[in-house]
């Protein structure tokens, strides 16, 4: 482990410390996610006006787009964690990468289904082999491949390394998902939200969308911590701190 990694990070990377740290932080992240989610839903479903073209169907946007962003964001996180895991062999990075995958797969799945639920009234079809749709489907397959590869190995750390490798190979798909609308002219919408410049969307619709985006980010943190804690228990089964937890839990 290189010396330039600050000491606190190094400490945090130690499984028992992180286990405790994540345990205290998780409820806060979950609480924020629920609060922001509730506000965003109220704003999106009640306050925001209907779209002049799409009517009320556009309200799927408040879950479709944040989920779509999360599907790519989580993949990026997974890719970075995978890289760290492979280069420095830090156990926590392996776990973060591997436990991000199911959450990412969940959001990808939501994106695909909400997208096709939206597509039926708007395009008249559930599914076409459009570039963005296809690349998002490929993203789902990549997530499933990472999850499957991780669990296919008997040695979990070996599985984590192999799956991390796949995650890194697959990262080229993320820019393809994002830019596919620019590169090929297709059915799917181009960019309408622009965080830094001027968005093409009215503020009434935009703020619930951005709030929901924040809510999903917090949700991700909460869910990730929850999963990482469980996985650390499975991975560190030989260590005393885990044995203690196991015995304590057996007693209670």
């Amino acid at each position: 482990m290189s010396s330039w990694i600050p000491l606190w990070l190094h400490k945090l990377g130690s499984p028992p410390t992180f286990y405790r740290f994540a345990g205290t932080l998780r409820p806060w992240a979950m609480g924020l996610a629920l609060l922001l989610g509730a506000i965003a839903l109220y704003g999106g479903l009640v306050l925001a006006p209907a779209d002049y073209q799409q009517g009320d169907a556009y309200r799927i946007i408040f879950i479709h787009v944040p989920s779509a962003w999360m599907s790519m964001f989580i993949y990026a996180v997974m890719g970075v964690a995978s890289f760290i895991a492979l280069v420095w062999r830090i156990k926590l990075a392996e776990v973060v990468a591997m436990e991000s995958a199911p959450i990412g797969a969940a959001f990808t799945f939501i994106t695909l289904v909400t997208g096709s639920l939206w597509g039926k009234p708007m395009w008249g079809t559930w599914w076409t082999w459009d570039a963005r749709l296809t690349s998002e489907l490929v993203l789902l397959f990549l997530y499933l491949g990472v999850i499957g590869l991780y669990h296919a190995f008997e040695d979990r750390r070996q599985g984590a390394r192999a799956a991390a490798f796949l995650a890194i190979i697959g990262i080229i798909n993320v820019p393809i998902v994002h830019f596919s609308v620019n590169w090929w002219n297709t059915l799917h919408q181009g960019s309408t939200v622009n965080i830094f410049g001027k968005s093409k969307m009215s503020w009434d619709m935009l703020w619930p969308l951005l709030t929901m985006m924040l809510a999903t980010k917090f949700y991700y943190v909460a869910s990730l911590f929850n999963r990482v804690r469980t996985d650390l228990l499975a991975l560190e089964g030989g260590k005393d701190w885990v044995r203690k937890i196991a015995e304590d839990e057996a007693k209670s």
Partner: protein
Amino acid sequence: MNRPGVATACAAMLRRDLTLAWRRRGDIAMPVLYALIVTMLFPFALGPEDTLLQRIAGGVVLVTVLLAMLLALDAMFSSDIEDGSLEQLVLAPQPLALMLGMKILAHWLTTALPLIVIAPLLAAMLHLPGAVIPVLLLALLLATPLLSLLGAVLVALTAGTRRSGMLLALMLLPLCMPAVIFAAGAVAAAQQGLPWLAPIAWLAAALVLAVVLAPLACAAALRIALDA
């Protein structure tokens, strides 16, 4: 003590895999026969209507050839792992990526090349217009090594697992989809008399990238697979 140069080692590796393939030449013929069977079954299953067959010919040949290649992919490293040859290869004082590159080359030569050779026959069996066949061959010449290279990386990744089959298929699907799309796109364009250079260029670019990166990735993946 005379350490062999890299060229000698590459030659030894390539010769080894080609000799092995030749000893089991029945297995080389397997994908070819498989592709022939599929193509022969289509007229039976669909009825021998010329226009229909002609319409689907390009796509069927492409899909058949690529799938026939997948057949042989799974076995790429398995026998070497079982009999301990791979350990010896990893321990050899030679760049592993290069040696694996040779293995991939041998694999392409023994599975893809025979398929490409009979592709015109397959195409003719389904009445594909003769003018399209060169484009089909070009597309295959670019798409098949791409598949070999990507496939090798994935096979290496799953080599340490017991449930390799499904995973391999699951991971290959997203990776080979673009290759099929571009190759089929080129053939379809040629069949309709449209320009077909763009998709072929994309395939070529992807191939160049894969030739450089895939052996390295493959070596790294195999080291992980052995480490248990």
